[in-house]
């Protein structure tokens, strides 16, 4: 009786294990690439990988963006896939610290990625080890309405004075210089990053987001004062606190606003809304302090092996495949973004070419983004402060004092 009971239990346990664990040769990938272009890009990538590796079948679970941010924490601990996408820099730090991402330095060493992906090596390294493989990045900068600039005979501004003059001309013509929607905060983080990178440079940006500099530091105040000049001159869209970044595209499409400080992903919706390439242009954020080398923002998206994955061997094959020049060329052509591999070909698109030209000549450094370089809590309170500053610039001292208080707690 007892033995029979035991065998039943054993059989039950065995069947449960069979049901949950993947079969050999099956590779489980979780991603949040649910927008049309990223989805197509991953479909293509997986099909190509399966063709190149007969015997491995890929099981792909697609999540929506917001849901993914919470579910990744659950599936990394409880029911880990073999691969999961995430972001470089500080955003992966909690998972690396909690021992949930696999060290993939061997994939980097065996496939010569240290040379071919050199530009992103820094943002993938924590404690001297590599924790994933980057597959795409995209530039940030100023997207603008070429036709409105031409109609008001404005040249593309390259320095601070020209930039302010361009804004003044636009305001006079009844056009809001910069559109922005700060409801979800991060757009304000982008503007802050660029003002700060141009005022104080990349090293300062990194020191600030790493918590090594006080928020009440005079250099931060310089950045904020530059920002205040723009705010006082009426540079930014009114009521921006009510809009998401997509809603803020509307004034630009309608011709009520002329510029948008944004990432390259804004191009696709602007084109869909009917703007042609003759109407839409891109320029590098203008110089503020000529002594500071130009640095840019280019957030990197990455793929990781969870530490609890079952099929790590095939997952490594997939990472190696993803890191090849061909795979990166192909995936980024569909994504409309930039490949990281140095031998990969950049798509023909004029914005991609412009971004590629800008980033490959950047000598100041490449930042991820405010909320990817700074720890989550600091990022949230920081960006909230930026939003408040954009509406109530007179509260600068109180805002900076609050950020400093947060810094002292978060980084201790």
């Amino acid at each position: 009786m007892v033995t029979k009971f035991k065998t039943t239990i054993a059989a039950l346990a065995a069947s449960t294990i069979l049901a949950t664990s993947a079969f050999a040769g099956e590779l489980v990938i979780n991603t949040d690439t649910s927008d049309p272009a990223p989805k197509a890009a991953f479909e293509q990538l997986i099909a190509d990988f399966e063709a190149a590796n007969p015997g491995i079948t890929v099981k792909w679970n697609l999540f929506d963006h917001e849901g993914y941010k919470t579910s990744i924490r659950n599936f990394l601990t409880a029911d880990a896939p073999d691969l999961a996408n995430w972001y470089a820099g500080n955003r992966m730090l909690p998972y690396v610290n909690a021992g949930l991402f696999e060290d993939v330095s061997d994939v980097w060493d065996d496939n010569g990625l240290n040379e071919s992906l050199a530009s992103a090596a820094g943002s993938m390294t924590i404690d001297g080890k590599k924790w994933g493989v980057p597959y795409t990045y995209y530039q940030w900068g100023v997207y603008y309405r070429k036709d409105i600039f031409e109609a008001n005979s404005i040249e593309v501004p390259t320095n601070w004075d020209e930039f302010k003059a361009a804004g003044a001309t636009l305001t006079e013509a009844g056009v809001t210089p910069i559109t922005i929607g700060t409801k979800y905060l991060w757009t304000a983080g982008g503007v802050f990053d660029y003002l700060n990178l141009r005022t104080n440079g990349y090293e300062f940006h990194m020191a600030l987001t790493k918590g090594e500099v006080e928020w009440t530091d005079p250099r931060v105040v310089d950045t904020m004062n530059n920002w205040k000049e723009l705010i006082d001159a009426g540079f930014f869209l009114e009521n921006h606190t009510s809009y998401s970044w997509q809603e803020a595209l509307a004034p630009m499409v309608a011709g009520d606003a002329a510029m948008y400080v944004m990432g390259n992903f804004a191009v696709a919706p602007l084109r869909e809304a009917g703007l042609s390439d003759d109407q839409l242009g891109f320029f590098q954020f203008p110089v503020i302090n000529p002594d500071v080398p130009l640095a840019e923002e280019a957030p990197t998206d990455t793929l990781h092996i969870p530490a609890n994955a079952t099929n790590k061997e095939d997952a490594r094959k997939f990472l190696a495949f993803l890191a090849t020049a061909d795979a990166q060329t192909k995936i980024n052509e569909t994504l409309g973004q930039l490949p990281i591999h140095k031998d990969a070909t950049v798509g023909d698109d004029k914005f991609l070419q412009a971004g590629y030209a800008m980033l490959s000549s950047t000598d100041g450094g490449i930042a991820q983004f405010f909320d990817r370089d700074a720890p989550a809590e600091m990022a949230k309170i920081g960006m909230e402060g930026f939003q408040e500053f954009m509406v109530k610039p007179e509260r600068l001292d109180a805002i900076l004092a609050r950020l400093e208080k947060t810094r002292q707690r978060v980084y201790k």
Binding site: A98, H240, T241, S242, A376, E377, A379
Partner: protein
Amino acid sequence: MSASRASRFNQRSLAPVLFLAPAILFFMFYVIFPIFQSMQISLYDWDGLGDKTFVGIDNYVELMDDEAFYTSLKNNVIWLVLYMLAIPAGLFIALFLNQTVFGMRLYKSLFFFPFVISQVVVGLVFTWFYDPSYGLLNVILGWFSLGPVTILGDETWVTYGIIFAGLWPQTAYCMILYITGLNAVDPEQIEAGRLDNAKGWNMLWYIILPQLKPATFIAIVVTVIGALRSFDLVSIMTAGGPWGSSRVLAYYMYEKAFSEYGFRMGYGAAIAVVLFLIMMIYITVFLVKMYRDEKGH
């Protein structure tokens, strides 16, 4: 003889326990146990993934010095007070609908409609209504050459804007409670009131309202609960912004514990404990009243 008496005694005392056991077990497991678990977690520093570090009452100390906490607390109070408007508004509509006119059922269901649709939809509808450039509100204000106002982007107005959106379904809820209550009003008492020359306001205040007391009590209960768990509207309409000025405690707790930039489980739990204590005041009042009423009968 004595044996059978003992077994009957056992049946009498055991049966209620057995019948209550499933409910009590689930209540213990899903309600009581998590409360104590939250209290325990609130004493730790924990990101939900790694090791917990015991920090004693540090989370509470930090909470007492947190501007965002006081903003949320203040908003919670505003919610509690203004949400009560749903009760007189619901009563008014119920009285208005309590007549026999052709198609009254249709009107009643139309008035009840906002309570049936999801809070998320209510939030979206009002977000568009308030939209500073294209929203209906500003179009209407424009006719009187007023505005535009940015209700959801202005720290002074945002909470009131969200509460107003919340009142829409809550009024419908109170209305349905009162309509049911009005059906139970004794026509003889009204008749007697009429004979004594009670009309309008006096009739309502002295004859109708006392009979609606049970409905009013339930309406207060659900409205207070509704106000304290006002999470979905805040999340949909503003995500707590601008710069956190429309946060309520429930939303702040979510933000600290589960949102993209959060994962401070201990701090979130500390907020939850404070919210629980606030609710506890109300629950105690409620229980005492229930106890007294039961005893009175």
